[in-house]
């Protein structure tokens, strides 16, 4: 085999002899590679954003919803058969080993009056674990405590939206607020979480001790749902299964009967949402990859022209002792150098494009290191694949015919 160094030199020389043509030839690869990288970057950017939104929902979150009722064959919707009580929560707290936090959620809502006016919002009655489960942080004031829960104290934490609506220019902490005509003391303001992935304002909420909401606002004994955190991401499914078994036992369900509740975990939710955006990313990448193939055909076209144009050169090389394989390797390496350098320029271009997108537009794009390696390799493969036929044609030339070619 001839030295790689010399081969590359010969290839570079003939590429540089036709600068303009080489550039135009590589343009197909340049555009193809940068399109693949940018498209995938935009795709994984939006994926990352969605994942970020979902993780704001909580840490390793598991949600248990009540099941549906069945009365003489007629089934009610979700939550129509509500049998969660504080007993279920206590049993979970006592028996579970894979949960780091458990909180009942008692949902209520209605008109609230305080500060400079009134506002209609949702009130969630929760335990102290809820703050960590759902990733809530304080803007000011403090969280309520176990004592507040035990004493059914009328204390409340308000979301940023409510603080802005009712206490525009004063500190809400320490102020009084009337929820459905029952006075509560505001002990803290929650840090803003912004919109949820579905576009709901997560800051339009009031958190109060579960007992207070259940007994003073709603006057029932059933809680609406249970939120829990698994100890870590790996144990999400095991924790979910453990919860299911404890709750079945708590509800005295016989073997063979269906659960009277449903459990969903965050991983499942994330999966569903990201699956869609993954499909989109794949689709974008695939479309861009088509342009890469078109770029490869461009290289083949030019290499074929080049072989015809340089028939005499091939004849000269053969006559002074080049083997057919030498000619093959020469043209092949030329095609590979063309497509690889196109690939490199494409990578640089894609970095510039992604930088521009992130800084000048609202589009968030993340360059995936794997896709760079893949597209660089792909461009080399394109060079070999589409360069092989012309190179083969060149090496099959008969020295005498090639020398006579005008």
């Amino acid at each position: 085999m001839l030295q790689i160094k010399n081969l590359l030199r010969v290839a570079m020389r003939s590429i540089l002899k036709n600068r303009m043509r080489s550039l135009l030839t590589s343009l197909g690869i340049i555009i193809g590679v940068s399109a693949v990288i940018v498209m995938v970057a935009v795709g994984s950017g939006s994926q990352a954003k969605i994942e970020q939104n979902i993780s704001a929902l909580g840490t390793n979150l598991i949600i248990v919803m009540p099941g549906s009722s069945r009365t003489g064959g007629v089934r009610g919707g979700a939550g129509s058969f509500n049998r969660f009580t504080f007993n279920d929560v206590e049993k979970l707290q006592k028996e579970s080993t894979l949960l780091s936090g458990i909180s009942p959620v008692v949902r209520s809502g209605g008109q609230i009056i305080g500060g400079t006016g009134n506002w209609n919002t949702s009130i969630y009655g929760v335990s102290t674990d809820y703050f960590t489960i759902r990733n809530w942080q304080l803007e000011s004031g403090e969280f309520f405590t176990e004592k507040d829960i035990a004493g059914k104290r009328k204390v409340a934490l308000i979301g940023k939206t409510i603080a802005d609506e009712l206490f525009a220019d004063q500190d809400p902490v320490g102020q009084s607020i009337r929820i459905r005509n029952i006075p509560f003391t505001i002990i803290g303001v929650l840090k803003s979480k912004g919109q949820s992935g579905m576009g709901m304002d997560q800051d339009d909420v009031i958190l109060a001790p579960s007992t207070t909401v259940l007994y003073r606002l709603k006057g029932t004994q059933y809680i609406d749902m249970i939120n829990a955190s698994a100890i870590d991401t790996e144990h999400m499914n095991a924790a979910q299964e453990e919860m299911r078994l404890i709750l079945r036992e708590s509800h005295r369900l016989d073997e063979g009967t269906d659960d009277d509740f449903s459990i969903a975990n965050q991983a499942e939710i994330t999966e569903t949402v990201t699956a869609t955006s993954k499909t989109m990313t794949l689709l974008l990448g695939a479309i861009a990859a088509v342009s890469l193939v078109v770029g490869g055909i461009g290289i083949m076209n030019i290499m074929l022209v080049s072989v015809t144009e340089r028939t005499r050169e091939i004849g000269i090389r053969l006559s002074i002792g080049a083997r057919a394989s030498d000619i093959l390797v020469q043209f092949l390496s030329e095609a590979v150098v063309l497509s690889l350098s196109g690939g490199l320029i494409g990578i640089i271009l894609s970095f510039a494009t992604v930088y521009g997108l992130n800084h000048l537009t609202d589009i968030y794009a993340v360059i995936n290191p794997e896709i760079i390696v893949i597209s660089a390799m792909f461009s080399a493969v394109v060079g070999i694949f589409f360069g092989f036929y012309p190179a083969r044609k060149a090496s099959a030339l008969n020295p005498i015919d090639a020398l006579r070619y005008e």
């Binding site: 010969v10 020389r13 000269i316 090389r317 006559s319 002792g321 083997r323 057919a324 005498i400």
Partner: protein, 256 residues
């Protein structure tokens, strides 16, 4: 004298559709080391075909070809390429230099394909070859910056760089004026004096008289084969021309 080339009943038939063209009908030719042979013949006589066979650019339809005592008509394409590279130097009518490539790099080219590694310093060998043909000053000139005679001398340097025993020249003066032709021939005579066997194809009787021996080909057969009686000396002829003309450009150092 040692035989460098020996052919026995060399036949070449080109198949063109239904028509079989008998280019060579059985050539018996022996060339001894150090000979300077001129192959003559009208166009279509088969002299170029013979040249291609001798130069291992083509394979005979039948017959045997011994190069340096070795039967090579049965070798494969790769071995042919290596023979062209290491044992034979070519000079063509149309020079056949790589365009937009310096004289030095053109001369280095055969070394690029030499797998034996006999010649370590490519650049040095190429410069030496160019100096031998009197172009030591024009290493970086590209073919379009050189005159026809100079281009042909670059081609001769390229044929020499791999130190072949035989140089084949196919109408090397066909594209040159008479003065430059003599110049190129004088280089060939100089190389021949150094022991390189030279085979020259030409249809000009003037040029053939610079050889030691003339073989005339007609219709694919050797018509006659004889020694040149009054061999001409290209260097002397050049000197004679120099006397006639007042100005000479591009003198060839080897012929002074």
């Amino acid at each position: 004298m040692e035989k460098v080339i020996e052919t026995r009943k060399l036949v070449k038939i080109y198949q063109m559709g239904d028509l079989a063209v008998h280019a060579l009908r059985g050539i018996d030719l022996t060339v001894e080391s150090g000979d300077f042979l001129a192959i003559m013949g009208s166009s279509g006589s088969g002299k170029s075909t013979l040249m291609n066979l001798l130069g291992c650019l083509d394979v005979p339809t039948s017959g045997d070809y011994y190069l340096n005592g070795k039967l090579i008509s049965s070798l494969d394409k790769r071995e042919y390429a290596d023979i062209r590279n290491q044992q034979i130097g070519f000079i063509f009518q149309g020079f056949n230099l790589l365009a937009r490539t310096s004289a030095l790099e053109n001369v280095e080219l055969p070394l690029f394909y030499d797998r034996t590694g006999r010649i370590k310093n490519h650049r040095k060998a190429a410069i030496e070859a160019l100096e031998r043909v009197g172009l030591g000053e024009r290493l970086d000139h590209e073919p379009n910056q050189l005159s026809g005679g100079q281009q042909q001398r670059v081609a001769i340097a390229r044929a020499l760089v791999n130190k072949p025993a035989i140089v084949l020249a196919d109408e090397p003066t066909g594209n040159l004026d008479s003065r430059t032709s003599i110049e190129v021939i004088s280089v060939l005579q100089y190389l021949n004096n150094q022991g390189i066997t030279i085979i020259l194809v030409t249809h000009e009787p003037d040029i053939s008289n610079y050889a030691k021996r003339i073989v005339r080909i007609k219709d694919g057969l050797v018509l006659w084969d004889k020694q040149v009686e009054s061999r001409r000396d290209a260097a002397a002829d050049l000197a004679g021309l120099a006397d006639e003309e007042t100005e000479i450009e591009g003198t060839v150092p080897c012929c002074k």
